[in-house]
Every structure is written in C-alpha cells, then in structure tokens.
C-alpha cells in the first residue's frame, strides 16, 4: 500500500553520508499514509459529487430557461407567460416564508438560549436543553402533519379576529372586492392554512437548531469578560448585552444561516400546510398564497415529464443559488466583523 503512495522523502535517505539511524525517516508509517489517503480521497469525492450535481442541475435546467414557452397555456410556465415570470414568484415565496420564519425564530431562539445558558438553574437548563435537542430531531413530515391538523385549525379563529379588527395592517388584510357595488368579502385561507401558519411551523422547526447552537456559543463566553462587565456594575441583562451577545454575534449569525438554510429548503411542512400558487403577495392570511420552490417541486414532480422536468430542475437550481447567496452574505458579515470579534 505504501508503495503506491508517491513519497518523495523516501529517496533522500539514499545519500552517501551515513545517517544516525534514529534520525532516518521511517518509511513504513502506514497509519499516516492510510489516513491522509482516506481524507484526501473523501475531500476529492465531495468535490466531484458537488461538481456532478452542479453540472446536472445546469445542463438539465438550460432547456427550460432558453426555450420560449408555447402559447397553449397548458403548463404552469405557459400560464405564467415565461420561465422567469414563473420562477420569480416561487423564489419570492421561498424567501418570504423563510424571512417570516426567521423573524419569529431568531429572537425566540436567542431568548431561549440565553435562558438556558445564563438564567435557568443548572438542572432546569439541562432538562430543557435536552427537550430542545429532541425537537431538533423531529422529522419535518411530523411538523407538517401537526401544522395542518392542530395548529392551523386552532389559529383559524384568531386569524378571523385579526382580519376583522386589524385589517388596517396591510399584512393582515384579507378583504377582496365582491360584486360591483364596491362590497368586500373576506378571502381567508381555509382552515387557517395560510402563509403565517406555514411560517410559524418553519419557525418551530428551526428554533431548536438555532437554540442549540447559540446556547453552546453563549456558554463559551469567556468568564473573564462576564466578570469584567459585572465588576463595572452591570446587571445580569446588561452583562449579557455587554459581554455575551457581542461575543456570540458571529455564532448567532452562522446558526441563523443554518436555520435559514433549513427553512429555505424545507419541503414537506410547507407542501402539506400551504395550498400555494404562483404569485407574489405579502399578505399573510389570504387564500391566495405564494408557494415555495421546494414545496412546488415536491407537489408537481410526480406528474412532470419532458419540459416540465427541466423547469422543475431549473427552479431547483434557483433555490440552490439563493441558498448559496445567503451563505456568502453570512460569511461576508462574519468576516467584516472579525477585527472586533476577539478572535485575535
């Protein structure tokens, strides 16, 4: 095995000078050779697989992007009037659902994580932390089922109330014109299955991830900095703002990005809860909701063929690009804060 490993160092021992034998490089370090072979191999393999996926997505997607849609209006793309008119609303729905989910999840997750790391008594923190970890392992289908059968119906009366009383807030307005007398009727989603419910379930799915990661980061805040703050006369909350949160910022960003990644790519929960359409709307309670890319693909792939396949794959590529951009932005943010991060 070691004979196959091209090792240039081995030849050097053949110089004419007699070497102290204890200094001669041991050519039989099988462990090293094996390990470096395996790790290099795995790294290469990941790279090859990634390249293969990217190539597959791109080549399969190209026909969908370049071909002019027929005028028949039989497929979704034809109805929308072109590939971009079709995929942009889906991309919007994806980002919108995830942003809503993150708006709810990140503050809550940080709150829970701080409670676990800095407020709760040790034993409570341990049990509670264990429950949070368990939640992170619940499959998304289960979340979806629960969302459809429990959460959505339970929230339906609340949504009606929101639409009746708070419809002056744009997002909660689900009234649409009715007849030609200028009358309005509520166009609420059936059974509470709207964008808000979908986003809530997404939030619930990412909260355990973000909580578990940020809790670990908060726990690693150097004692030195916490005490510096306390010794200046900081209350516990002031200490958290002065020492813990700044220390945890990049951790919060990266764990949020992981959560966002999951929310963006989440298929089943959204597919089950949201009867989505190809449209752009910021309204949360209406019957007409934008769909997400992942859910749309899951809902339509079984019947797709030919062009339809290419279009779905192209949509998948768009999702891939969105996720990539999100990650790059996160990295840029973390990098730009490096000087003040205390990593030096």
């Amino acid at each position: 095995m070691s004979a196959q490993a091209p090792s240039s160092d081995k030849e050097r021992t053949t110089s004419s000078e007699p070497l102290d034998s204890s200094l001669v490089r041991d050519s039989k370090r099988y462990g090293d050779t094996l390990f470096s072979g395996i790790s290099t191999g795995s790294a290469l393999m990941i790279f090859v697989i990634l390249a293969a996926v990217a190539t597959f997505l791109t080549t399969q997607a190209i026909p969908a992007v370049t071909r002019e849609p027929g005028p028949t209006g039989l497929t979704a793309v034809e109805t929308a009037g072109g590939f971009w008119q079709w995929v942009l609303p889906l991309a919007f729905g994806t980002v919108w659902a995830s942003v809503l989910a993150m708006l709810m999840a990140v503050p809550l997750a940080i709150g829970i994580a701080l409670f676990l790391s800095h407020y709760a008594p040790k034993r409570v923190a341990k049990t509670f932390g264990y429950i949070v970890d368990l939640l992170a392992a619940v499959p998304s289908v289960v979340f979806g089922l629960w969302g459809v059968t429990v959460l959505a119906p339970a929230l339906d009366p609340f949504y009606r109330w929101l639409n009746d009383n708070l419809s002056w807030i744009y997002f909660f307005n689900a009234w649409v014109p009715y007849g030609d007398g200028g009358d309005l009727r509520p166009n609420l989603a059936a059974g509470g299955q709207n964008m808000l419910t979908a986003a809530m379930v997404l939030a619930l799915m990412v909260i355990p991830i973000i909580t578990a990661l940020t809790r670990e980061v908060f726990l690693q805040t150097p004692r030195l900095h916490e005490e510096a703050s306390l010794a200046l006369g900081a209350t516990r909350w002031e200490m958290i703002r002065q020492a813990v949160l700044p220390f945890g910022t990049s951790g919060i960003i990266s764990s949020s990005m992981l959560g966002l990644g999951r929310a963006l790519g989440e298929t089943m929960a959204v597919a089950m809860i949201l009867p989505g359409k190809v449209l752009i709307s910021f309204k949360l309670l209406t019957f007409d909701n934008p769909n997400t890319i992942a859910a749309y693909i899951a809902q339509n792939f079984p019947e797709a063929e030919g062009d339809g396949n290419h279009q779905l794959i192209a949509a998948g590529l768009v999702l891939f690009v969105i996720t990539l951009v999100v990650n790059m932005v996160a990295r840029a943010i973390i990098h730009s804060r490096r000087e003040f991060s205390g990593a030096n």
């Binding site: 900095h225 005490e227 510096a228 010794a231």
Partner: protein, 259 residues
C-alpha cells in the same frame, strides 16, 4: 471618593468548602493596601468579597460584615450591582471587551450607569480616564481601534482607565502585573501610587518587592494547615511587616522560608 473599608469577622465559602476564616481588618482610604501570602490562602477570595464579586460564582457566599464608610455591603437592602459601581476591580489577566474600541471600553461602565451624556462629555471623560491610567499619549490617535489590539500592559492600563472612569471609591486589583513585563509593571506601579491620591487601593501581589514598593499597609494571609481555611495572620504598616513582623510565619514568608 476614597472610603474606608472595615472587614468584620468575615468567613467566606465556596459551597460547603470554607476558603477563608475570621478576617478582621480596616483598610484605610487614600492608601495602598497589599495582600500577600502563598497560593491558595484566599487573597483573591477576600478581595472579591469586598465588591461582592465573590457571589457570582455558583454556591459561593460569605458570612460576616464588610463596611464601606460604615455601611454594611452585605446588609439586607444592599444591591450588589450598586456596590460594584462604587468599588471597581482590575483583574489578573487584562480583560478589555474584545468587541469594543478603546474609547468604548473606557466608557463601558459609564454607559451602564447613566446613559445620558453628551458626546463631548464622553470624549472628555475618556481622555481624563486614559490620562489617569497613563495611557492617553499612547492611544490618543487610535481611540476607535479595538482594545484587544493593544499590548498586554496597555490593555491592563485600559482596564484601569475603565475602572476609574466610573469614579469609584475603591479600586481592587488582583495581581494586576502578573501577566506583564518589567517595564509595563513599573508603569502600573507608578500609576498605583498616583491612584492613592484619590482612591482607596487594595492590591493582591505575589511580588514582595512590589508590595514593598507600592503599599502603605500589608496584610499577610496564610493557611494554618493544608485543607484548612485561609486566615489573616498579620496586618500592619508595610514597613513593620517587612522589617519587624510580630509573627514567625510572616517573617518566614517575607524572607522566603515557607513553613
């Protein structure tokens, strides 16, 4: 400014473990008091009990009284947060906030106490505190750079500036020079001598020469035996402790003969 501290029959515990027993002493204002003694005898523990930093450790508590100009810091209605605003602390390892600039570090304590301060007042206070810590000339051109970019000695002086910016009555220092080179150490020692003009200063040190150089009074702590709580063995003017101690144990420690 500069208040007197009276410690009365102070016992200090970490959970079930008693670390310090029966300390009685009066620390004079406008003077430097040094705590010396072998490792583990409870110097840091006593020091931290003076601004109620001891109790931030899980299960840690004290029994006894610490009076600041007559007010018991461990009285029933006393808020430890308030106590720490009046009794500042400098730690063994410099600990500026890494996410803050030099100026923000200096003002970190003030920000907590009263947020209402104009920009120019803040600038003035930052300059005054940095001058007070003998750091102004070195950092005046880079106040917006991160505090963690300074040398160890500069960071420690930054921490001193941060402590004096909230104008405390007392400044506690736990081996403030042990992580520093001789030059930085001298700079801090000079600073300590200046600080006693305005503050009550208490310093823990393992360096005998340092105690002799900077302090007016010295307290020698020791363990009666391994596993026993630490006790205050002898307390008096630095002059007396170093040249004519009453206790054999003190003399042995000062002269380098550990018993």
């Amino acid at each position: 400014m500069a208040k007197r501290i009276e410690i009365k029959d102070l016992d200090i515990f970490y959970g079930k473990f008693q670390a310090v027993k029966g300390v009685d002493m009066t620390i004079e204002p406008r003077a430097v008091t040094a705590f010396i003694g072998s490792s583990g005898c409870g110097k840091s523990t006593v020091l931290r009990s003076l601004n109620r930093m001891h109790e931030v450790i899980d299960g840690a508590y004290v029994d006894g009284e610490v009076l600041l100009d007559g007010t018991n810091l461990y009285g029933p209605n006393v808020d430890p947060v308030r106590v720490r605003r009046q009794i500042g602390m400098v730690f063994q390892r410099p600990n500026p906030f890494p996410t803050m600039s030099i100026k923000e570090n200096v003002l970190a304590g003030v920000r907590l106490n009263n947020a209402r301060m104009s920009g120019s007042e803040m600038d003035e206070l930052a300059e005054k505190s940095l001058r007070g810590a003998n750091l102004w000339e070195e950092v005046k051109d880079r106040l917006d750079r991160p505090g963690s970019g300074l040398s160890g000695g500069q960071q420690q002086r930054l921490c001193i500036a941060r402590a004096i910016a909230i104008s405390p009555d007392v400044i506690l220092m736990d081996e403030p020079c042990s992580a520093l080179d001789p030059i930085s150490t001298l700079a801090i020692e000079d600073l300590i001598k200046d600080l006693k003009e305005d503050y009550t200063v208490v310093i823990v040190t393992h360096n005998m020469q340092q105690a002799a150089r900077v302090s007016d009074s010295t307290a020698f702590f020791n363990l009666k035996a391994q596993g026993q709580p630490g006790e205050l063995i002898e307390y008096g003017s630095t002059e007396k402790i170093f040249h004519n101690p009453d206790q054999k144990a003190t003399e042995d420690y000062i002269t380098g003969r550990f018993g």
